[in-house]
């Protein structure tokens, strides 16, 4: 397998991890499991409600930066980053 294919595989793996988290915090915690989670509290927030209106958004922000950070490392590892060639 050549370098570019391994790079793409690594990208897809990272992407599926991130998108799983994306799915869990919004669709799973915020919608599907909202009722059981609402039995727990975070301050005055019911937990499921908090995920739907606050927590999911914070997680999205963290995810995008995490992905960006890890991809920059992958770019370097596989030697496909932009800077050096220009």
């Amino acid at each position: 397998m050549d370098k570019h294919q391994s790079y793409w595989k690594a990208n897809l793996r990272l992407m599926s991890i991130c998108l799983s988290i994306w799915f869990v915090v919004s669709f799973l915690f915020g919608i599907i499991l909202v009722e059981p989670l609402n039995n727990f509290h975070l301050g005055g927030y019911k937990l499921g409600f908090w995920f739907a209106q606050q927590g999911s958004i914070y997680t999205f922000v963290a995810l995008v930066f995490f992905y960006s950070y890890r991809m920059n490392k992958l770019d370097k590892k596989f030697g496909v980053h932009e800077d050096e060639e220009k």
Partner: protein, 580 residues
Amino acid sequence: MDELKLYTYIAVFGTFGLYFAIAWWARAGSTSEFYVAGGGVHPILNGMAIGADWMSAASFISMAGLIAFLGYGGSVFLMGWTGGYVLLAMLLAPYLRKYGKFTVPEFIGDRYYSNVARVVAVLCLIIASLTYVIGQMKGVGVAFSRFLEVDYGLGLGIGMFVVWVYAVLGGMKGITYTQIAQYCVLIFAYTVPAVFISLHLTGNPIPQIGLGSTLSDGSGVYLLDKLDLVVTDLGFKEYTTAKLGSTLNMFMYTLSLMIGTAGLPHVIMRFFTVPSVKGARSSAGWALIFIAALYTVAPAVGAMARLNLMNTIQPAASETLEYEQRPQWFKNWETTGLLKFEDKNGDGKIQYVADKEKNEMVKVDRDIMVLANPEIANLPNWVIALVAAGGLAAALSTAAGLLLAIASSISHDLLKGVFRPEITERTELTASRVAMTVSILIAGYLGLNPPGFAAGTVALAFGLAASSIFPALMMGIFAKSIGSKAAVAGMLAGIGITLLYIFQHEGIMFIKGTAFLGDMARNWFFGIDPKAFGAVGAFVNFGVAFAVSRIINERPPETIQKMIEDIRIPSGSPAAAIGH
């Protein structure tokens, strides 16, 4: 002139002056500057511009109001309109930036080596963007007529002129730098009243924390618990658990908004303006931070506004506001017709209850919540003036981005790409400016004479983006085997099924009386709202494309395979592209 009006004039025309100055400083000289700001905008600044581009009059004015009345059900907008950026950052933006062209239809046309695909994409883009612009123009007209008491049409005209000056003069470069200023205005205008109100209600200045805190009236009761109690007492659904339709509907609604967000061309094209693939990835993160700054405050604004409204009308369980005692803001909004009271039982008191027979607040327009919020909370006049300037910034920045998307697809994709490939850069630039001027005039005309479908525009724009553009782009990057016939079939099927479902409910192009199959129950497809149908359209698009691809056994040519492999890696030098 009273004090409030004076402040409002200063805030509104002061910010307009700022936008003009920036536009003059950043005017565009080449097509590259006009379409993608020369590709050299710093990721943080670009993120800010995306934030302003994205947050429209709907986000600024309507969203908190929707949440105030939908409660938990309003979460679909919060998650849907932010979660889409995760998809953009991972699935589209870096690869489209690597491809390095000007417009979204251009990528689709090249990738599927088909002008048909390109034209279909242009049509989706124009319909989605134009319907969206009308909403912004209406927002501008309303803001002017409410806050400066000028005629709606004149307000609209002033708004059109302002956008025309800096969008036509500056293109993407002017728009980007103006949007950065507009972001600062709108986030400041949104946050300041929220901080005041949160401080007043809970003693905590951070609205996101205030919403989860106890009330500062000494009762020790959590704000959300109190709100649940107040609304259920009057027969409304419990605030923190009220669903929007079924769980499945909420799921599909959120998914549709996410996919639609990631597929809206005026957002995607912003990622062409950063200098690198790395920049495209981090730009998405910065954009999301700047958007989250408003979107995490919005639920607090919504809940607190609802509580304030309820407390005003019903200060205590046994005590109801006398109509004659109503506060000034109540009277102000009554004159706009957005708030209406009808004394059904003739006792001179305002009964605001869920029961339609007994409810005397016959109209409480959701859109007034953000605009009236500072007045309801008795905030100083300069805060109210600021909200007016912020609402205008939100509407203008989004309108400019949309107009650029329309103009570039007409001049670059249709004229240069399909009909007259021989025109020079200079002619193309002129054509783009003409196209933008015409689009502004059309949007202004439609804002002045809103067609019946204005209210349904968001559904249409997101439905089209979700069912056609997003799947086409995603397969273009991730599925090498999809060729032009499969892609076009997929797009047409996705658009077809989505429009069919929307129009069957709401009428063809939302014209009343043309809804067909009238004997079918509303939301007949598993209880899914037409506004939440984009995700179904996207699944159909993917399904049809893969099925057609398999049946006709189509393989894209070698050059296209190479192109896809090339966009998957950030490095652009020929040496890196070999190695296969």
